[in-house]
Symmetry: C2
Amino acid sequence: MKDNVKVGLLGLGTVGTGVVKIIQNHQEQLVHRVGCPVEVTKVLVKNMDKKRDVDLSKESLTLDPYDVINDPDVDVIVEVMGGIDETKQYLLDALNQKKHVVTANKDLVALYGSELLKAASENDCDFYYEASVAGGIPIIRGLADGLASDKIQKLMGIVNGTTNFILTKMHKEGMSYEVALKEAQDLGFAEADPTADVEGLDAARKMAILARLAFSMNIELEDVNVSGISTVSDSDLKHGQTLGYTMKLIGYADQSDERVEVSVQPTFLANNHPMASVNDEYNAVYVYGEAVGETMFYGPGAGSMPTATSIVSDLIAVVTNMRLGVNGKSISVPQFEKRLKSAEEKFAKYFIRLHVRDEVGSFSELTKLFSSNSISFEKILQLPLDKEGMAEIVIVTHKASMENYSQMLEQIKDLAVVHSVESFYRVEGEGAK
Amino acid sequence: MKDNVKVGLLGLGTVGTGVVKIIQNHQEQLVHRVGCPVEVTKVLVKNMDKKRDVDLSKESLTLDPYDVINDPDVDVIVEVMGGIDETKQYLLDALNQKKHVVTANKDLVALYGSELLKAASENDCDFYYEASVAGGIPIIRGLADGLASDKIQKLMGIVNGTTNFILTKMHKEGMSYEVALKEAQDLGFAEADPTADVEGLDAARKMAILARLAFSMNIELEDVNVSGISTVSDSDLKHGQTLGYTMKLIGYADQSDERVEVSVQPTFLANNHPMASVNDEYNAVYVYGEAVGETMFYGPGAGSMPTATSIVSDLIAVVTNMRLGVNGKSISVPQFEKRLKSAEEKFAKYFIRLHVRDEVGSFSELTKLFSSNSISFEKILQLPLDKEGMAEIVIVTHKASMENYSQMLEQIKDLAVVHSVESFYRVEGEGAK
């Protein structure tokens, strides 16, 4: 049995520094838990001379990743450097040298998770990635272990802290999207180029990882339908609030009749939904299991210490497996063939905001169009507009298929009474009655 | 390697039946996950001839627990019969015969968890008890694995569905305690004798289990200070709402300076606290870790299928360990000596409702008493009372020690202006501003 575990670290930014700190400060607890010391012995850095607030010897630092990957003493590689293609090659090389891997790299796992897991399994190595989704929330373990005996029918995730922060500010403080984004950037919650966050791409990567695990299918990033929050307006939020809804950027993954759909889209949640009160930069993942019913995991989605905590939890699992001699044994391959829902098989409620000409018969024309597409109304709100001769109509529909919505949205352009379709958002739950 | 795992079931009520159903209906997924078939082969029942809605052969049923415990073919005992002393002996006998144990029995685990875990460890057996706390929420695994790398500073739990249902009805529908309790009883959420639920004893058992694990200390049931909700009045709730608080029965476990306190008590939570919107019969456990910050696990606290799901998750862990030959290896013994906080070391905010004589100087006498005990005010609400010459005063304090509160409550009896102390509840968070 291994009596001393050595860790090689690829990257020493804030997360990497957090990992070193936890390992050093919790050494006593770690030894108690896994039965042997765990030590960081080799670290890839960008700059040898930078002042650091962790205690690492000069000899343990290197500028060459292969000094870490090829070090015969290193048992586990912790990857916190980011990047995709080059990093993937480093990790494949590490696995092929029988080194276990723990990573926080969601981009890499979303794009090449299957390939990396396969390489790990072939080498009897562990490959853990808890920190890649929802930083401090143990959702990967929750899905893999805790709910292993259930059939997961639906996942909903608030998995991007930046957009949740922006939407919370818009809702609670009445900020415009632009002002809220600026505040998020000032506070370091959003990048200078916020595209990956606000357009939903970051959330889509995380949902691909979660859906793959929840449904045991090879879901790819391109299977996720994505739309972001950059076009969400104050008016949308205001009308949604009137009707009892809160806007969130929601990742969905839904399974019925062995077919799945995965998407990321701005969504109006009924205020009494447990996810509606997940605010600021917090994340949450809601899981609906056939047997267990509703569960939700809530916590910080990012931040160096929460992420480092998840990494060290993975590291503990790796070391435990090493001492038991069972690494790589618990990797489970996708059990089912991927079958995606067609537009006729996807059903949802939608919020539609229209500008129409305020004429006799306008509403009846609208009603005719919706009902000819088998879409019925749950709620209607009509308000006068400042624009001359125009009215604003907000409709919340009952459930209908995406096929029917597409047709309706196509045909609505031809209605003379409709000036414009201002917005079209998914709705979850009942809202105000 | 074991290529067929046989399960003996003690008890075939609704949870036991749920376990059999999941094992039978999910056989394919189970095999995929653990690599071999899992079968229920021996079942203790109370009545051999009762009609059941699961498919079990007549030969597999027995009225004698030792037919299950002593069956040489049985590898794992799943205990869902309830009971304490007798059941404890059955499980000790099972462990001593090298059978792994999975139990949903919170009373047993709260009272004898340490003894049973020790027996399991000595026999290289697993002893899992996920279902004993918060039914469908994987909180035991969350604490043991997911947060293993962190230091847990504080736990707060809504771990009793009955009281949460009653308090939700009182809050949302303005029901009195008695009417809400009656409705809970009618719906099967509360027992005919609701004492264990409404007086907080059930929650106390669960908090002892969680605190033991979170702080790695031998917390006993008698270390938990308990008060229940049977004296909570409509007036309390109404005034709490005015000040921005929601009443919940909260289990606390808090650690500072290596000393802990564990309690269960009716508590006013600020409405923006993530636990304030946990409603109806749902449970939630909020965990504050030094590194990870705030996390929360939400889900059904009871119900036969959620509980059965947790049991089968434990069973999967046992079978995985069996196939890997590592049973009993991950049981961790309490690492720290138990040190409980004294009254001077426990700090909290409190809500105090008083009836005072409406005289000149009343308030100044109160102020003097509080400040002489180093208790300062965060909020004050004074209202006229119907009773002649009396006023109602509601005070929310800043944090003070329990030592100071005790002294104040002792001395307040001697104040001529104070007619009665109507209520005294812990407060968490800021509430309305």
